[in-house]
């Protein structure tokens, strides 16, 4: 292994890259997807490393290649690219090592981000926020906590990864892959799954208990009806029927029942 050269990029450069990465998908396109956003994000590095205009343009064009990953996990790739490009610049090398790394990392990191953030953290925090609003009914004070709790709980890991990812990617370079393995995103996903299940069960109990009496006077019957509706929705969703269709279907059935005089 080559001895690690001292790292000379300024804090400000890395921070600028991290902040720019929020615009990764500003010009998302079907040809090369996030390429323009990536080139925009990496520009501070290009300015810091290029000695002349010609070099800068060559550098920029190299980073216009196809790119697509999870918009949060891109930070890690940006950090690693910073380290690798800095090394290449010092050796006056123009190998396409950075692009190979980008291509290698983007798929797996997209899988990781989609699993942890979209399919687990977002439902978990949103469910919590929604639960607070439902419980507060129409009182503004505790209800306003709903969106706040949702935003704060979601943002801590999000911003931590998006800002911190650039810095640790730069510090650790490609070795960050080992760290990610130790960090084991799958366990986080499963833990959040358990949390969602518990909160879901609790909310289901509270909502059915409170709304059952609105529909029919007998509480047990009302709860039974609500649960039956829930299961119908659930199996319909599993069969791939979309939420919008289910909503319109429910409206039609309700109108039919109303004309039939059921309620």
């Amino acid at each position: 292994m080559v001895e690690k050269p001292t790292q000379r990029l300024k804090f400000g450069t890395l921070l600028a890259i991290a902040l720019r990465s929020f615009f990764l998908q500003a010009c998302w396109n079907f040809r090369r997807m996030q390429n323009l956003g990536f080139a925009f994000s990496i520009s501070p590095l290009i300015r810091a490393l290029s000695k002349n205009r010609e070099q800068e343009i060559h550098f920029l064009k190299r980073h216009l290649e196809f790119f697509n990953t999870h918009p949060y996990c891109v930070s890690i790739i940006l950090g690693v690219v910073c380290q690798v490009e800095e090394g290449l610049a010092r050796q006056n090398e123009h190998a396409d090592k950075a692009n190979r790394l980008k291509v290698g990392m983007m798929g797996p990191l997209a899988a990781l981000g989609d699993t942890v953030f979209w399919s687990m953290l977002k439902p978990a925090t949103a469910l919590l926020g929604v639960g607070i609003v439902f419980l507060a009914a129409s009182q503004i004070w505790p209800a306003i906590l709903g969106p706040i709790v949702f935003l704060v709980l979601f943002s801590i890991p999000h911003l931590g990864l998006q800002i911190g990812g650039v810095f640790s990617g730069y510090r650790r370079g490609i070795d960050i892959v080992k760290d990610l393995r130790r960090f084991n995103p799958q366990f986080i996903a499963r833990r959040l799954g358990v949390f969602i299940a518990v909160v879901l069960g609790g909310l289901l109990g509270i909502i059915t208990f409170q709304t059952s009496t609105v529909l029919v006077s007998a509480q047990l019957l009302g709860t039974g009806i609500l649960l039956a509706v829930l299961l119908v929705f659930f199996f319909a969703l599993r069969r791939g029927i979309g939420v919008s269709h289910l909503f319109y279907g429910t409206v039609l059935i309700a109108i039919g029942l109303a004309y039939a005089g059921v309620f």
């Binding site: 997807m33 879901l200 919008s244 109108i255």
Partner: protein, 253 residues
């Protein structure tokens, strides 16, 4: 109309968060609902509408190059329409919500379709990438990104404006003509809506062990509420503690 203009502009900016800028979750119905509610002077309705819609489309993931319908826009439009219906025509909360949602869902679908067009347009912009880089350097690339943002903003703004402007007027004219049984039906759908939300979450965690946890906690909470009526807050707090503890217990996975 001026109010509609500013609401649409703000909604369009918040909606950029859905895919183009940051994904800070500002575009989520729970947040947009609160903001729109505040602007329209009815924050508690805004919060409730946001909560009703927040979970509905969480099962649709924006993975990779896949462009789903943009239902964050549905959330904003539903909140705006429902609060207008309540304030102008004195309609009941549940009824306004369901009616507004029914009108707003196509906006989300349309938004997804227009999004695909915008992304094709962006492909055009990307075609200029190399030349722009040669001529204007990184500043040029920033300009191309800005062009993409402007296209996205216009898409959101136009959809918001059409729905909150002309369509809201049409809805205001139509709503009082709705026959009484339909009123009752839509009001009932309001009470069913949370079940659809929870079914979506159930589908996300669908797994044998999860079913056991959900049923167990459900029964526990329901019985506790029955014997110890009216302590929903404390019970919800207990559920959160239980969830946080179980998370660390390996056998629960």
């Amino acid at each position: 109309m001026e109010q509609v203009f500013w609401l649409s502009a703000l909604g369009a900016i918040l909606a950029l968060d859905a895919a183009m800028v940051g994904q800070f979750m500002f575009s989520q119905p729970l947040v947009v609902g609160a903001v729109f509610g505040y602007l329209l002077g009815d924050i508690s309705s805004g919060l409730m509408i946001g909560a009703m819609l927040q979970l509905l489309w969480l099962g649709v993931l924006p993975v990779g190059a896949y462009v789903p319908s943009d239902h964050t826009i549905t959330g904003g439009i539903t909140t705006g329409l429902a609060i207008m219906l309540m304030q102008k025509y004195g309609m009941a909360f549940g009824l306004s919500l369901v009616l507004a949602l029914g009108i707003a869902i196509p906006a989300g679908v349309l938004s997804g379709k227009v999004d695909i067009l915008v992304r094709h347009l962006n492909s055009r912009i990307d075609g200029w990438g190399e030349r722009t880089a040669e001529k204007y350097g990184s500043l040029g690339i920033a300009g191309l990104n800005l062009a993409g943002l402007v296209a996205g903003f216009l898409r959101n703004f136009i959809i918001y404006f059409v729905w909150l402007g002309p369509l809201a007027v049409a809805l205001g004219w139509l709503a009082p003509q709705v026959p009484e049984p339909v009123h009752r039906a839509l009001g009932a759908v309001y009470w069913i809506l949370p079940m659809l939300s929870l079914a979506v979450i159930l589908e996300i965690v669908a797994k044998a062990k999860a079913y056991w946890i959900i049923s167990g906690v459900f029964l526990l909470v329901w019985i506790l509420l029955f014997v110890w009526s009216g302590q929903a807050w404390m019970i919800f707090g207990g559920v959160l503690v239980l969830g946080s503890v179980l998370m660390w217990w390996k056998r629960a996975w």
